[in-house]
Every structure is written in C-alpha cells, then in structure tokens.
Symmetry: C2
Subunit: 258 residues, 2 copies
Amino acid sequence: MYLTWRRARHRFGEVIRLPISSRIEDYMEEIFALEISGREATVTDLANALGVAKATVVAAVRRLSEASMVSHERYGAFRLTEKGRERALRIHRRHEHLTFLFEDILGFDKKRAQAMACVLEHEMDEEAEVRIMGFTDYLARAQKEGREWVKDLLSVMGDERKLPRPLAMIPEGEKGVVTRVTAEEPLRGRLFSLGLSPGAAILRLAAPPGDELVNLEADGNEITLKMTEAASVWICTGPDRGPYKRGGMEDVPYNHSA
Amino acid sequence: MYLTWRRARHRFGEVIRLPISSRIEDYMEEIFALEISGREATVTDLANALGVAKATVVAAVRRLSEASMVSHERYGAFRLTEKGRERALRIHRRHEHLTFLFEDILGFDKKRAQAMACVLEHEMDEEAEVRIMGFTDYLARAQKEGREWVKDLLSVMGDERKLPRPLAMIPEGEKGVVTRVTAEEPLRGRLFSLGLSPGAAILRLAAPPGDELVNLEADGNEITLKMTEAASVWICTGPDRGPYKRGGMEDVPYNHSA
DNA sequence: GGAAAAAGTAAGATGTATCTAACTTGGAGG
DNA sequence: CCTCCAAGTTAGATACATCTTACTTTTTCC
Ligand SMILES: [Mn+2]
Ligand SMILES: [Mn+2]
Ligand SMILES: [Mn+2]
Ligand SMILES: [Mn+2]
C-alpha cells in the first residue's frame, strides 16, 4: 500500500513533492463549500458529495493534509488551513461563476454546465478568472437591461446547425462553404487573400498526383493548397444533414459533482 | 506489466470494457490532426506532440487499437478506423473552435486558450458543440461588422476587477457589495426580494449565538440568513485591493499540447 | 453504562498513465 | 549484401485514484 510508504517517508522528515491534481482540488472545493455553509466537513459528506468510497476520501485528505492544505486529527472533521482555504476559494469561485455563465446566462443544461465548469475551474489562473468574470457580468447586465443583441446571441445558440469538417476530408467533386479558418496568423492571412474566408463557396477538385496537395475552386477561382494548409480550413457541406444527433460524452473518466 | 495481462485476455476472446479516457482522446485527436494534414502518424510524432515517452504512445495506441479506434500493424504507422475518425473529428473540431473562441475572439493568451480548450473538448456533446459554435460565429461576425457592444464586451474583459468572497467569509463589521447570487431558484428569488441582488451594499453585523446564522444590513435593512443561504451570496469588499496577482495553475496534472 | 449503529480507518488489490532501460526491427548507404 | 542507426517495442517499475473487506473508534440511545 503506497500510502504507508508515503507516510513513512513523511515521518522521517523527507520533503516530498506533493502536486495537487485537479481531482484533489475537487476535494478541497467540497470541504470549502461545506465550511462556508456552516457545516463540518466529514469523511461521509465528502464521499457522498464526490461519489466515492469513504476510504478514497481518507486517502485524498491524507494527501491534502501532507500538503498542509487541510488539518485533520483522527476521527475528527477536516478544516482547511489558511493556504488551503485560499486555494479552495479560488476553485469554488470559478466553479460557481462558470456554472452561472454556462447555465444561467448561456442556457446550457445543468449537468453539462456543471461538467464544463468542473474541468475548466482547474485550468484558469487569476487573470483568466477576472476576464471571465467581466465577460459574465457584462452579459448578465445586458440581459437584465433587455438588450436586443443578447437576445439574438442567445437565440442563435439554440439554432440547429451543421458541423464542419476540415477541407482535407471533403471528397472530390463535393461542394461546400467555408465556416472557419483556424490557421495561425501568417497562413491565415494568405488563405483569406486566396478567397478562403468564412462564407466562401468551394468545390473540391480532383487531387493532383502525389497526395500532398489539394485542388479546389473557391468562389470561381481554382487554387491549390498543401494538405497541411487545407487542414485548417473548415467546410460545411450538404443541405441535407438532418437535425443534429444528440449524444457524445461517452466514457467520461470521472462521475464527480464538485 | 498490465498490458501483457490485458492482451492475454484479449487473445482469449474475452470482451473487455474499454473506456476511452480524455487523455486517450488526446492521442486520437493528434493522429487525426496528422492524418488530415497529409502526414502519417508515427510513434515518434505522437510522443513529440503529446510530450510523452515513446513507450507511452505504444501503450496508448494499443488501447485504441483494442477499442477498434485505430489500426496498426507492428512497425507501421497508425490509421484511424472509421469509428475512430468520427470520434477524433469531433474532438479535434471542438479543440480548434474552442481555441478560436478563447484566443481569437475573447483574447485569452494562447497557452491559456489551449489549456482550456483541451479539457473542455472532452466534456461537450454534440448539442453543446452546436451551441458554442453558434455563439462563436455570432461574436465573430459582430466583431467583423464593428458592433459597439462587442468592443465594450471585450474591453471590460481586460479591466481590473476585485474578486468576490462568499458572504460567510466576510468578517463582522466589514462592508461590501453583492456581485453575484449563485443559489438555485427557489432561494435565489427569496434572496433577491430581501435586497440581496448584484449591486446591493451590505454590512456584516455581529453573528447571533449558535454559529448557524448570519446577520447583515442590506441597503439599510437588517436581515438574518442561515449560513447555507449566505454561502451563495458573493461579496466584493474594500476599494484597496491592488492589481490582481497573476498566478494559479499550480500543479496541473498533465503537460500536454493536443 | 453498555450494546448497537454509525463513522472512520487500514490493508490489500486493480486499472490507468506514465517513466527508464533494454531489446528488436527495418531501412538507408556504402 | 552487410552494417549501423533510427524507429519501434517490451519489460519492469512508480504514482495516483479508486475499490472492497475488515477492523477500530465514536456516538446514540435504551
Ligand atoms: Mn473540478
Ligand atoms: Mn468543481
Ligand atoms: Mn484534450
Ligand atoms: Mn485537444
């Protein structure tokens, strides 16, 4: 059991590097959420909140305790240290405000909003948080004031829409419309000046021999691109793709709530 | 070595559940990106792209191969199967378009945009993707057309801003302003009608005995809340918090690029 | 005050993702 | 044709997050 080994090293005063993974941050976040609502954070609470076995919580909290994020005496409740509370506050705040953005403003369903918030919260620094917060507040305010553009913005989100494929995947002879060019800047400008910008109608032509090039007609002009270039041009084809299929999210690794 | 065991079971025809984790999806995404730019996906390519050892790629691809997502004969290049290519397309498309949104539209720096896109891409279903796409396109278009509201929206994102704390963390005697109420609906309405809505000025008063309640003054009226309720009211205090500190993102578990 | 229930902890195991070090294979050049 | 090197693979190990089962401590309540 590796925890035994870890604890042994710990006891002998060895300094152990203790990275706090995003999953472990979820435990901190939950302890924080319990603390600020006036409840004590117990093993059972965390196990229920995070959907794991109690033994798993014990292991997680031991890590947090060794990292001086949580203080814990045997059979007692957990308390965040000052350092741990600071960090947990950041995570919790990001979670709450991202959820607010995704669910209350942008209209994602609750489960999706939670899932998205719960991964994004670990990938933001303070600057990103400040930016998202400004964005969210601006939208919220515009919505409350009944601005037309917010209504439009939110209503187009609900529209059905075909999803594009990279130009390289379009078969010869097929027509389509450019919906996005995701290339970095020097190339992006070049593609735009060739007529490959959102809205342009294209027709893929027979490929020249060699497998490295793509021929196509863009708004009437015949052009040739390298495959690497074509990879960043996204094309919607066919008017006949029915309503979008629901689904996806297969095999999400964790089933957590925090 | 667990791979030996897994392969053994596989050979004997046992059906093994093969969940594809978000990390494994990153490998698929990278194979896809190589394929559409006309290159072959090799062990070395993937190892470089994902920042892992070659042996790690071999293990990952074995999983993909057993899940029928990738075909691979020894010492040859990888090719996505039809099923694998469908899935990889979805991931790659989400990655590209989220990056476009975060970096090109919303102005996050490249690294942050990549990190955020690379976790979010695994938490979206097709509906979420369609919604984000509509949102992104609308913003892109409004920006190209020079709409004032987009300029304002993007400029407030760059503003400095104090970050709030839950009401429960505000010390007695401190004043502040409500910036958000993240409660669910029945409670949210009640809090709003008590005067606790964004913009309200509050002053925390001495707590009543018992540790379960919070006293405060909101726009002049004295009110009492349960701690659980107070947890969802976010308060900004003090005019004296300097420019926000940069930082965060400590201990991110993976260092991937895909 | 003691028995039963609930809460917490420990041990041992599994599955995933990763590494390094050694080994094998295929192909390019002489 | 052979050699050698780059590319690919295997073996064996570590770290983390998780589980189940069994044990210990605390709490509850008659
Ligand atoms: Mn999370
Ligand atoms: Mn969370
Ligand atoms: Mn990813
Ligand atoms: Mn990605």
